[in-house]
């Protein structure tokens, strides 16, 4: 009985879109193991009892991407996109660094809380700007967030007057570099936030409504959903999550690099979301999938370094991984169709759009 249930669960799992993301992670790790058999080894640093190893590095690197990917998956589910996350990260980083620099006390938890709090408030405001432009003014999400992507980086520069501000604050540094029961704090934090967002979205009706808006905004409105408030909420969430990512990111070196912090990370986030099986056209989304996507991207970045792929070949290497992954995923779709013997003639013409593919 339980075996049958387990087999059923496995089958269900295999049908999830992000399974290929996991496969890709495993494949990349294997590639690393081929180069160095000890790649996966974890050791314990005798000095402080922390886990040390390449896998731990990957988890740490994944944390900020996880944050923005989760926010991005909500935004994308509504049929939007948030290009400003990278810039919001820079702003959050700039705000917190400036705050700590002027506060000065390098050991104070209060200063850390103040810095983080301020950073999150500012990023929430930026998210709200996106939300208002999209939901109330009615601009296209791509262009509204593109505007904030440009302006946000400028804002970060204004905040630090163009400097790459550094500060020292041990609790803040601990968030990004510290360990708790041997595991990096950032990752624990990121994992906790992912789970929390997942629970909030799926336990409440938020997820359902976001999906409804993303699939068919007109029909959702007719069903009594008020899209504006929801959109605002979603963009604010994305902003706040980007703010957290910014804090994590600048915390690693305790310096905000106004032109580099979060640079082009929006692409990583979007990639993560798509690898996780969410369609950019909006609708059904998967937070777990986005998390897998984020882990894959972190693994890919680290693999490129570990294998010593030359800087100039790195983009090509990434491109190949993405293309292979996409092909695998689409093969999966086909395999699924063959297996189920359900074969629409126009497999390509099945975008998950509201007005489309409605059986008559």
């Amino acid at each position: 009985m339980s075996a049958a249930v387990r087999a059923e669960a496995l089958k269900e799992l295999l049908r999830k879109p992000f399974v290929w993301g996991i496969v890709a992670i495993v494949a990349l790790l294997l590639l690393n193991v081929l180069k160095d058999p000890g790649y996966l080894a974890l050791s314990i640093n005798p000095a402080n009892g922390n886990l040390v190893g390449n896998l731990i590095d990957i988890l740490r690197a994944a944390a900020p991407i996880l944050m923005i990917a989760v926010g991005m998956s909500l935004v994308i589910a509504t049929g939007g996109i948030d290009l400003s996350v990278g810039s919001v990260m820079a702003v959050a980083g700039a705000v917190s660094m400036e705050f700590m620099k002027s506060a000065g006390d390098s050991g104070s938890v209060g200063v850390m809380l103040g810095a983080v709090g301020l950073a999150l408030i500012v990023s929430a405001v930026l998210g709200a700007v996106n939300g208002v432009l999209v939901a109330y003014v009615g601009l296209q999400p791509f262009i509204s967030t593109l505007i904030l992507m440009l302006a946000g980086r400028g804002l970060a520069k204004v905040i630090t007057s163009g400097q790459n501000t550094s500060a020292s604050n041990d609790p803040f540094r601990w968030i990004a570099n510290g360990y708790l029961i041997g595991v990096p704090v950032v990752f624990l934090l990121a994992a906790a936030i992912v789970v929390a967002v997942g629970l909030i979205v799926r336990r409440s009706a938020l997820g359902l409504m976001i999906e409804a808006i993303g699939i068919n905004p007109k029909a959702s409105r007719m069903a009594g959903i008020k899209p504006r408030g929801l959109l605002l909420t979603v963009y604010i969430s994305s902003g706040v999550l980007a703010g957290i990512a910014g804090v994590m990111s600048v915390g690693t070196v305790m310096t905000v690099d106004v032109s580099r912090t979060g640079y082009q990370l929006e692409l990583d986030a979007i990639l993560a979301v798509v690898i996780g099986g969410t369609s950019l056209a909006g609708g059904k989304f998967s937070i777990g999938g986005a998390a897998v996507g984020a882990l894959l991207i972190a693994t890919l970045d680290k693999t490129v370094l570990f294998l010593g792929v030359s800087s100039s070949a790195t983009p090509a290497f990434k491109a190949i991984v993405i293309v292979v992954l996409c092909l695998l995923q689409s093969e999966r779709v086909r395999g699924w169709f063959v297996q189920r013997r359900r074969s629409p003639r126009t497999p390509s013409a099945i975008p998950a759009r509201s007005e489309e593919e409605v059986a008559a």
């Binding site: 009706a205 409804a212 068919n216 007719m222 009594g224 629409p344 126009t346």
Partner: protein, 539 residues
């Protein structure tokens, strides 16, 4: 007829979707110069058969022979190239382009400088003209047309393509008698020119009026092929449903006669000079508890427009609405819902279903929206609601975890009805609720409406099928040219023909003698006193 070779011959066709055998060994033949009706209940597999023929779906087994050639098409364009022109069940046009372009897309008239737009629009006009739409401005965006007119445009498009085979999947589902008559004229003339026509409809009158032969499907299985004149209605129905005739006795005829005097009760909803420029002239209206009010009118008469204002789907630019005597401002559908008004749209695909969500999610959506996202329905509540309406409305397949887009058109309609019933509305506005619904289910829905009214719900019932409106409603609001021209208190003497006459006569001569209550008189009950801040206009 049967001695010649069929233009289309499908043998032993099977198609299986995950969990559903949509077609199971179906045979089908279509001859030149005939109108062939494809009959079956909702979900019987009619649309699937059509999609199999035109290459939208790949068949799992069987063979298709078109004009003597084994053919399995790779999509509609292939089928068109082979002379098969199709109007699918849902209107498949592109709303971002003009009417004329929609008619002519892919067949534009070309000259030395590319497409000759003048000639193209002229051909489009000519094609539309055949269905009586000659006065449409073909340059206007298609999105300005009501769904019914869009359906006519889609048919015009199919007819503009010179084809050997014309397939019409429920072309008349939102047309009124006039349009249907116009369509039939054209179909007959095409038939006489030797075109083979495949026709699907749930209106038996239409089937008997137009078809020569019919093929009946039941549950994806082939039931038989018959000459229309050899098969009487009752046999047809029993073959479609596969049940004994007794079950069908409830069909038709059971008109609501237990008229109560609603005027004495306080109206649930009052509209006073409610209007919106370009859509509906200022209108007064009152709807009482437990009453069924029908809206009658021709295509584009403004029924949908008025209903949308009553719900809050559109904002009026003048007039006011009161619910239970209290003045309300309905800015969005959410406001309407908040005042226990529900509105089931005629545009099922664009404004009704959320295609990629399951039946379950589609049903609970409005209830959940009303509660807000922070107070989710518990699993048990959801199950109860979903179970209740899937069973009550006989949604098939009865699996609530299926994506709604994979349901047949009629079943999608039932799910939407369930969505609105689940909100326990006080006012239920049904715009073409029986569109695309089979005979059996139609009777069930009518029954449901009657029961709802009995239990005190005020129902607004809009349908292009006048008989249905007359049969069901106690009061009929007649609209013409975006204007309410009067109300009829329904009674045993009132027939659909009379209503048609009233509409036709209006503006020609005074219509008061045909049982029409003057609109102003009727306002006795909707006394201005009920409206606080009455007369306030937001023009």
């Amino acid at each position: 007829m049967s001695q010649e070779l069929p233009v289309v011959q499908m043998r032993d066709i099977s198609i299986e979707f995950p969990g559903v055998k949509a077609l199971d060994g179906v045979d089908f033949r279509l001859f030149q110069g005939e109108v062939h009706a494809l009959m079956g209940e909702n979900g019987a597999g009619k649309s699937t058969l059509i999609k199999a023929l035109t290459g939208v779906y790949k068949i799992d087994s069987g063979s298709i022979v078109v004009s003597g050639q084994e053919s399995q098409f790779h999509g509609t364009s292939d089928a068109q190239a082979a002379g098969i022109s199709t109007v699918y069940q849902e209107v498949n046009l592109v709303t971002n382009l003009s009417i004329g372009e929609n008619v002519m897309l892919g067949h534009e008239v070309r000259g030395p400088f590319g497409i000759n737009w003048r000639a193209t629009h002229k051909s489009a006009s000519a094609a539309l003209e055949r269905l009586g739409l000659g006065d449409l401005d073909t340059h206007k965006p298609l999105s300005t047309l009501s769904i019914a007119v869009q359906q006519l445009v889609a048919i015009s498009r199919a007819m503009a393509i010179k084809a050997k085979v014309l397939i019409l999947d429920e072309p008349t589902s939102s047309l009124d008698a006039n349009e249907v008559e116009g369509l039939f004229r054209v179909i007959r003339s095409l038939r006489d020119q030797g075109v083979a026509i495949l026709f699907v409809s749930h209106f038996l009158d239409q089937i008997y009026a137009i078809s020569d032969r019919m093929t009946i499907l039941r549950n994806g299985r082939y039931e038989g092929e018959y000459a229309t004149r050899e098969l009487d209605r009752r046999t047809l129905i029993s073959k479609m449903i596969g049940k004994d005739l007794d079950t069908l006795n409830s069909l038709g005829g059971n008109r609501r006669v237990d008229k109560r005097d609603h005027a004495a009760e306080e109206p649930v909803l009052i509209a006073q000079s409610l209007g919106r420029r370009g859509a509906i002239e200022p209108t007064d209206l009152s709807i009482h508890k437990g009453e069924v009010v029908g809206f009658a009118g021709l295509l584009g008469s403004g029924r949908t427009e008025l209903a949308r204002l009553l719900f809050g789907a559109d904002r009026p630019d003048q007039g006011a609405i009161a619910v239970h005597g209290r003045r309300v401002d309905l800015k969005t559908p959410a406001d309407g819902l908040g005042h226990r008004i529900a509105f089931s749209t005629e545009n099922r695909r664009d404004e009704g279903i959320i295609a990629d969500l399951t039946v379950r999610e589609n049903i609970i959506l409005a209830v959940q929206a009303e509660r807000g996202w922070a107070r989710p329905l518990s699993r048990k509540e959801k199950d109860e609601i979903v179970h209740k309406y899937v069973t009550a409305l006989n949604v098939r397949p009865a699996d609530p975890n299926r994506l709604i887009k994979n349901l047949s058109g009629g079943n999608q309609q039932k799910v939407l009805l369930g969505r609105w019933l689940a909100t326990n509305p006080e006012v239920l506005i049904l715009d073409e609720p029986t569109r695309g619904i089979d005979v059996g289910a139609k009777a069930e829905i009518q029954e449901t409406v009657a029961e709802l009214a009995e239990s005190g719900v005020a129902v607004v019932f809009i349908s292009s099928e006048l008989e249905e409106v007359v049969r069901l409603s106690e009061r009929i609001v007649v609209l013409k040219d975006h204007q309410k021209i009067g109300e009829i208190a329904n009674g045993p003497g009132v027939t659909a023909e009379q209503v048609v006459d009233i509409i036709a006569a209006h503006g020609v001569d005074a219509a008061a003698d045909s049982g029409l209550v003057d609109a102003d008189d009727d306002l006795r009950s909707t006394d201005a006193a009920h409206l606080p801040a009455a007369g306030e206009e937001r023009a």
